[in-house]
Point group: C2
Chain length 211, copies 2
């Protein structure tokens, strides 16, 4: 209701957002139990009290972080426009969107890791998330159907499986960057190798689909 002056001393929305921003970093970086409520508060311009005022507690704050992170991705994934591309190029494009997205949101990737570490028990409490991710798969399913219809793709593939192949590659590259670097002395996120991996992913997926 109030105008965005940018100079107000009291701004509920801004306080909430700032809390979520910092909490996202903290939870992604240190995990759920590793993150400290005091530390999160200290890195904002407000106090710990506000976490309890706006969210109720550490767990609800984490839930808020998770929900917002997935919501942002939903928006990003809608941007892929592949209807005008031939099936092979379209699959490649979809893979690249996922590739770019993973690279651009390391904090999100880490949150996924954190969630899996705790058997996704928090995610189950955010019912809204379930129908959220299906749109990406639906898009892919459409492209695959076109490819099969054109006789370009093998006809025994499941869209969710293909989505999994794409996700694995993109996820691994970001999530396991550090152990990979330590074990093989290769930085998977080295900008110099970015195009190489992006192309590789496209080759990998289209190579699998092709008849």
């Amino acid at each position: 209701m109030t105008a965005e002056t940018g100079e107000r001393r009291r701004d509920a929305e801004r306080t909430r957002t700032e809390l979520l921003d910092v909490a996202t970093e903290e939870f992604a970086e240190r995990g759920y139990s590793g993150a400290r409520v005091d530390e999160i508060a200290a890195r904002t311009r407000t106090t710990k009290r506000m976490i309890y005022y706006y969210f109720g507690g550490k767990e609800q704050l984490y839930l808020g972080v998770l929900e917002r992170a997935y919501a942002e991705i939903r928006a990003a994934e809608r941007t892929a426009d592949v209807d005008h591309l031939d099936p092979v190029a379209a699959v490649r494009r979809l893979a690249e969107v996922t590739f770019d997205h993973h690279e651009a949101h390391p904090a999100f990737i880490k949150l996924v890791g954190v969630e899996n570490a705790q058997q996704a028990k928090h995610m189950n409490h955010v019912a809204r998330l379930v129908d959220l991710n299906s749109s990406a798969v639906d898009l892919l399913a459409g492209v695959l159907a076109r490819g099969v219809g054109d006789g370009l793709f093998r006809d025994d593939v499941d869209a969710l499986d293909v989505h999994m192949m794409i996700s694995s590659f993109c996820f691994f590259r970001v999530a396991n960057r550090h152990t990979w670097g330590a074990l093989f002395d290769r930085d998977l996120l080295d900008p110099a190798r970015r195009e190489h991996y992006r192309t590789m992913l496209g080759d990998l997926i289209t190579g699998y689909l092709r008849k």
Copy 2:
């Protein structure tokens, strides 16, 4: 030096091993900061005091867990015998060994996740690990060279990259089981789908390599 009677009330080696066993589970399940020293001790037949007696502290115990976990894998990876197979079958076999291994060692996968969550900072302190994993890649490199020599494989591929493709798929399936299940209602480790995924991985990799 002393014989393994199995009934001794005091057995340094057994106490140490038991501590490592339980700690592996705890660290894998709850992460480094989530794991509780008291809880680890309680789940053994000894006391917390022994953690400090044998390892020095929580961090060194974690280091011990990490080192042993990787050492076990080294042994497992040596078992692949692919010299008598043609290059295509050999690549498929190597991928399957990795596939099986990931599935059989979820705790190890989780530890890798835990390590990445903390920028692999502990792993760097275990210098012994670095040269450890290279054997798997060397094996793969040999097979790839054979395939290129036979004119079966494209000649612009790097063994470490192929190892990464294989690892991503296998890792993702185990590591992201829970979020995937929550979001898409599909259990990636469902035994009924196991062969399907195992074959899929082989198709994926050989499809990419084929000229």
